[in-house]
Assembly symmetry: D2
Homo-oligomer: 345 residues x 4
Amino acid sequence: MYSFQNDYSEGAHPSILRALETINYHQNNSYGLDEHCDNARDMIQEALENYGVDIHFIAGGTLTNLTFLSHVLRPYEAVISAETGHINTHETGAIEATGHKVFSVASSDGKLSPDLLRPVLKLHENEHWVEPRLVYISNPTELGTVYTKQELAELYAYCKRHNLYLYLDGARLAMALAVKESYLTLKDIPDLCDAFYIGGTKNGAMFGEALVLVRDEFKDHFRFNMKQHGAILAKGWMIGVQFEELFRDNLYLELGKRSVALAKTLKDAFAKCNIPLLAEAPTNQIFPILPDELAEKINAKYLTTFQCKPDEEHTCLRFCTSWATNEQAVEDFARDLENWTLSVS
Amino acid sequence: MYSFQNDYSEGAHPSILRALETINYHQNNSYGLDEHCDNARDMIQEALENYGVDIHFIAGGTLTNLTFLSHVLRPYEAVISAETGHINTHETGAIEATGHKVFSVASSDGKLSPDLLRPVLKLHENEHWVEPRLVYISNPTELGTVYTKQELAELYAYCKRHNLYLYLDGARLAMALAVKESYLTLKDIPDLCDAFYIGGTKNGAMFGEALVLVRDEFKDHFRFNMKQHGAILAKGWMIGVQFEELFRDNLYLELGKRSVALAKTLKDAFAKCNIPLLAEAPTNQIFPILPDELAEKINAKYLTTFQCKPDEEHTCLRFCTSWATNEQAVEDFARDLENWTLSVS
Amino acid sequence: MYSFQNDYSEGAHPSILRALETINYHQNNSYGLDEHCDNARDMIQEALENYGVDIHFIAGGTLTNLTFLSHVLRPYEAVISAETGHINTHETGAIEATGHKVFSVASSDGKLSPDLLRPVLKLHENEHWVEPRLVYISNPTELGTVYTKQELAELYAYCKRHNLYLYLDGARLAMALAVKESYLTLKDIPDLCDAFYIGGTKNGAMFGEALVLVRDEFKDHFRFNMKQHGAILAKGWMIGVQFEELFRDNLYLELGKRSVALAKTLKDAFAKCNIPLLAEAPTNQIFPILPDELAEKINAKYLTTFQCKPDEEHTCLRFCTSWATNEQAVEDFARDLENWTLSVS
Amino acid sequence: MYSFQNDYSEGAHPSILRALETINYHQNNSYGLDEHCDNARDMIQEALENYGVDIHFIAGGTLTNLTFLSHVLRPYEAVISAETGHINTHETGAIEATGHKVFSVASSDGKLSPDLLRPVLKLHENEHWVEPRLVYISNPTELGTVYTKQELAELYAYCKRHNLYLYLDGARLAMALAVKESYLTLKDIPDLCDAFYIGGTKNGAMFGEALVLVRDEFKDHFRFNMKQHGAILAKGWMIGVQFEELFRDNLYLELGKRSVALAKTLKDAFAKCNIPLLAEAPTNQIFPILPDELAEKINAKYLTTFQCKPDEEHTCLRFCTSWATNEQAVEDFARDLENWTLSVS
């Protein structure tokens, strides 16, 4: 069965495998202090057009989030996240395990805005409450929606006015940047938040994320916190080499575009069959609301992820595409969908 | 400059790279629930001749140690470690960061024994003290020494009598098992401790350790703790595939033997030049005590790790060999050493 | 200005001061292992008609909650609380600081029920989510509402069926028990939850709460966790003596009745003036919704606590009565209120 | 049996009980924001001749230590303590439970010095090690020894040069200040460390310590951390009133002198009988090394604390005196000792 379950079902982009093989017997400094990591850092700084940021490579997203957040927050400080935020739902309380409350805010599209933050700040008034100190957002969000450059700028301005850090979880950042309508480019990001990570795992890498620390006060002793959380790999260049490849010739952005283009094909197929989507999600995650009978037919032939039951007779599934998604499989699915829809209706 | 600095300077055993390439576009279940991890677990169980153990794959040693220890200890329970134990020195307080005291015990050879544990238990008598609950050992130790089967059996018997768990950090387990004189084989390990890990990073893998939970009470909900600490990789099969290769045709043990054999060549070279060693270390780490002048000559041509200054005129360096160490380099070094020693004396 | 701000503005019931004076020069065992604590434990067991429970004395409510919850939860386990629950709002993230997520549930009256818990359990399905393990309730709630015996029994039955502990924060337990309509008596409590505390601070003590552990699995090593959190007083009998007095001749329950009776007088005064209340709160906390002009008049003469602004023209204040509230002050206020209302309308 | 077990066996100085009774029905602001706490803070500042320090009242020593240390340390920072330090032995890992390693240093007299700190700093060199950031000392130490003003000044100068905070646990500070030979006065303390606490529990209070924050960077948001650890009492004035009394007319220092004077009587008695002491301890804790037979005789009539067995035939006991110790009991004991020694020898 072909799988549209997620964007981390296949290995690594071939150029990454090739590079790892080429340098296999070179001797490297350990713990991320090698020349591949250094070079990858340079390449990312260049792509960001920002040479003041610090960049650290960490094996996965949860480990990146918990290491970063526990580093920048004092014990009584808390994070504000959308209710659907990854740290609030799918990281097994990793942030709380480092001692910090995650204050969750209901948001219909998975995004945060000054309007949603205002009441939270009003509520937290003295030492009997945690002190909200950092706003966590994902872009794209867990619902596949994206922030426009304008929205992000407004959110960040609000955060700065209210002594809040803004942190952007970029597990799928390449896919957000592939959405032209948001007018957001890679080099904008360091100007619009205090820290973020560039996700590798979901966009061509075997594993590995590049955490970018923009704000100076985050930089000091960060590697101590990494080591304490087991977030420094002995063979750190394993991630450095991957990011060298991802940032050579715009590969990172190209892979994101490919994911989004294939998702667009799926979206068109659903539209053609008059199947509504859960959210206006322009990235590589599609959430069609399907009649139960059709959902069953799909699940008999394709792997997808169950999202929710919006009502008694419908099922919402998540379809994901990625750098590795087979184009033929997407076309096959579109044809199958059309056939099934005709037979169902 | 050729490096004897550590056993994690090169990439991965070629068969691992080949395997990763072969399956690169196969779609896998995520989070370590795939068939490669399952298969690797089966292969390890078979090598252990123990089919009741649970096996989890984690990206690195510190992450393995902190995830495991925080899972099995209640808040007021503490770990006993040799003063030189990795968790006590080189993990930036990772265990304490999960809330647990590491009670350190001075030990001349880096090993623990019932005689060293007895006074610790006597000291900790009531609720004003932490409750020692787990004994952490490394085999080989951080000084390159190993436990004999007999020593391990006595230590474990003592632990069981005193309600202490015994956990063995096997970052370099293959090298301990390569020491014939210790009479310890891989399949003995699950009978001689409550949990341990089989280190991949230092013995042929890119990264990855296999944590083996022997005691039933450790098994429940372990994956929750892994996820909470960021210790589940999205593409978990990346480690599974590596352990499939390491446990095919005894590769894991063979690589350990190779490391130790090359270290033996180094050791013989030091002996030939009448250079004493810091400890009787039969594994892949050698700690020669060198006249300062000789140490300088060495460091001008080879990379090693500074260990300590035993006195004003001598320097102790650490030499490491590994599965990837170049045989020619070892021979070159032996010849250089002989020449330098002659010229110095 | 007379204060109705809270129920912890005055010192201790005179019999407590007398008892402390009487035994001032007696030499006692330290750390709560003295005969006064023992005797108080016996008296509480007798009042509960339950001789199997363990009882520990702790200086305050937050310290009691965090010590207890961190003792019974494993690292990946979480608490479910009403959004208004004290641990979720007014304890500065104390529970999260011990590593555990507090999952908050919206509840109009501050109470939890099986209907409110069901969707939470459904959501938390695997190791990517925290594991809900304990339900935290307050009785009375932070809104002054109470659970009936029937409601509590249903909630506890649901918890037991779903492997959830039920913990009752009884900071104002005496006030809940003073509400006859709930049919709940002190001796019912150990049958209707797994642990609870009997609040002293808000009902006649200088400070001190009696934590009652009903479930056997909570009892082991509890004092270790207390000491670790600084929750064992050197002169532990200071709390023991207070609970001896509170449980002599039903004083504890009588003081609760007095608080509630005085609150009833306030409530009647508001009713007489046609001033609505925020919630149907039968205990010692009253939340009248006042025209702003009237609220200002009140605040010029009495101290109260601001609760919220339900709309542009009204202010909701909290009035608290206690064992120490001056009866004359209550009557004065009732008369003032009537006068002010006449003049305002 | 008369008890010399510790200095917290009796209640409170009578003037404290009287004060609590006098204000019992006054209405106070809660959470330590009342006029008694404010007044006590003023009185302590005056006694310290330092008006820039912040002062917080906390119920006990362990709670004070863990709240303070978790406030000032970043996650990867560690404490250095003498092996015998209270936080290293008798607080059930309270500091580690907040995430920080306590690095213990062997010290024959329980004191720390630049010479003992130097090797610790040398050892901790990079991000694989915790970062030593704070030096914890007790004065008097747990062995009854004291720092001279000169020693403290040298230690603090060393700390400042090496970016280490110096924190002084003053559980028995009054007793240290009663030792004239150390030339240390109360007003010297804020000049010789970054923070310290003035112990009430062991010197006349029911409970309560006054934490003094000297360094400005500690002051911000401290009450948030207090609340998070359950270290703010609802009726905070209960401690404020006690410190008002202790700092009226030098009572605090006078009580310390009394304790030490009575200990001197005991010491003289041991000297007269040629009984050696474990350490040259000039404060209120005496550690005589007694022939076993004599120790048994003592324990049959008096309560003391077992300290250790220095050899097969001797027992070391701890004798404590306090503000409440009965002078007659001390004299009785001296006479008993003389009689028993005569009969034994």
